[in-house]
């Protein structure tokens, strides 16, 4: 039996809109893939790129960031901040070989449970298609290779 790869996705959601959207989806029994572990932030503007790197280096295959629609931020402008960080972070991680498709930013209002569930499902499929990331656990004693010999 060949088992389908189940990606692990960490989702950082804003308390005011998208976390509630996820909640709405849950209460309305809209199904979304169980691959996403949601972490609630007070605002997407609170998203520190460090969290994303920790998630990826710690074994996540993808990271989802959700926030209120542009213009609707509970804290006025913070979601634009999140957008700028997200775009620069994605470029920085690309330089380290992390495919841009592994990080996604979704806007969702509290009423958009269905839309959010749909986007999450779609993202899970996209990350599944990319395959496991499997970032090394650097705390382990690294097994060195005789690279010079390999070249020769």
């Amino acid at each position: 039996m060949s088992e389908q790869f189940e990606p692990v996705i960490v989702g950082f959601t804003c308390n005011w809109c998208s976390y509630r959207a996820a909640d709405t989806a849950g209460t309305a029994r809209v199904k979304y893939a169980p691959n996403v572990r949601l972490i609630r932030l007070m605002c997407s503007g609170r998203l520190d790129p460090t969290f994303v790197m920790k998630a990826l280096a710690g074994g996540a295959d993808g990271v989802l960031i959700t926030g209120c629609h542009p213009g609707d931020c509970h804290y006025i402008e913070q979601n634009y901040k999140a957008l700028r960080r997200f775009l620069l972070l994605r470029r920085t991680l690309a330089g380290l070989g992390v495919e841009p498709g592994r990080i996604k930013l979704i806007w969702a209002s509290a009423a958009e449970g269905l839309k959010l569930a749909h986007e999450i499902n779609q993202f899970v499929e996209e990350v599944r298609a990319l395959g496991p990331l499997n970032w090394p656990k650097w705390n382990d004693q690294p097994a060195e290779i005789d690279a010079v010999k390999e070249v020769a």
């Binding site: 920790k54 901040k81 960080r85 380290l96 097994a143 010079v148 010999k149 070249v151």
Partner: protein, 331 residues
């Protein structure tokens, strides 16, 4: 042999600049000589590894260890110096965070060898490569083997103190030498193990005299493209990438004071878990745009964000190496 405390300094994968910085403490170097017996310092005196191996464990009071862990010889001497020293200082950016040699972690080792020995700038028609062992009539000769990735000293052995900088500023080195001498004379105490010494606790921005006005920018430029920079205003707010916001203080904002951007050689500021992540936040905060397309076009002005944000810190960052490095080399 005198019974003065013993001092050693070693270079692993390094450029020699850290050694020069120590010599640059000028007449203070005489204090080092007056208070210490220099027992091992390859750049300054003739000594063999065997001499160090024969010393008693913990018999060296202070070892300043610079350079990163590029090959197995570096690691072997790191273990040796750890065993022989009471106080092991990770000295300079290479030892502490991998520094520029750590950027090699963006590539697989064989690609590095290719660039060094096979590209057009290298006259090597027979494709001769260094071998890690070679038979000669007298026996087998060995060369160190490259690690799959560059590591920091603390990733290999236990470190007592960290001294950042590429290289550490000479006045900071002099202050540390003074402190150790005072400790020897019972006039001062050593800081807690694991401390960063010879540096400040805030950021380069905090020591920078340039005015910040929370100004947002519409484009990033390379510094040579915006001559002349306004000498009184923040460089980053003039659209030139400056790493000051994430970088540890201690150099007295040496570069921005003379019109150059901080490139981050003092490493992450206190409390910064990932240096590059902090700079992503800092740089994103000056971008004056709300539409994705406009933001992207402004970010095009930073052609190599990974290199910009991790020039000194990649080997000690959360990610540490790129996929092209660890997928090829193993880890």
């Amino acid at each position: 042999m005198s019974n003065k405390p013993k001092f050693a300094m070693y270079w692993a994968a390094s450029c020699g600049g850290c050694e020069i910085a120590v010599l640059n403490i000028h007449e203070k170097i005489l204090d080092v000589d007056a208070n210490f017996d220099v027992v091992f310092w390859p750049v300054a005196m003739d000594a063999k590894y065997k001499d160090v191996e024969e010393m008693e464990d913990k018999s060296i009071l202070l070892t300043l260890f610079n350079g990163s862990m590029r090959n197995d010889e570096n690691e072997k001497i790191a273990h040796l110096m750890r065993r022989k020293s009471q106080i092991l200082v990770s000295f300079g950016s290479c030892a502490t965070e991998g520094c520029v040699p750590g950027l090699a972690n963006l590539f697989p080792v064989n690609e590095i060898m290719d660039v060094a020995f096979h590209t057009v700038t290298t006259d090597n028609p027979n494709n001769i490569l260094p071998q890690t062992s070679f038979e000669v009539p007298e026996g087998t000769l060995h060369l160190p083997t490259m690690n799959s990735r560059v590591k920091t000293l603390a990733q290999v052995v236990d470190v007592d103190y960290y001294m950042p900088g590429c290289p550490p500023e000479s006045h900071q080195i002099a202050a540390v030498v003074d402190l150790v001498i005072q400790v020897l004379q019972g006039k001062a105490q050593l800081p807690p193990k694991g401390s960063v010494i010879g540096a400040g606790n805030s950021t380069v921005c905090d020591e920078c005299p340039r005015a910040r006005n929370v100004k947002m920018i519409k484009a990033f430029h390379r510094i040579q493209e915006v001559a002349p920079l306004d000498p009184t205003l923040c460089i980053l707010e003039q659209g030139v990438p400056c790493n000051g916001p994430a970088t540890r203080s201690g150099c007295n904002a040496r570069c921005p004071r003379v019109g150059a951007q901080c490139i981050g050689c003092y490493g992450p500021a206190e409390g910064v878990l990932d240096y590059g992540a902090r700079l992503v936040t800092a740089f994103a905060s000056v971008v004056d745009a709300k539409e994705p397309a406009e933001i992207e076009s402004i970010l095009d002005g930073i052609p190599d964000p990974t290199g910009q944000f991790y020039r000194f810190n990649l080997a000690d960052s959360l990610m540490r190496a790129s996929t092209s490095n660890w997928k090829k080399n193993g880890h």
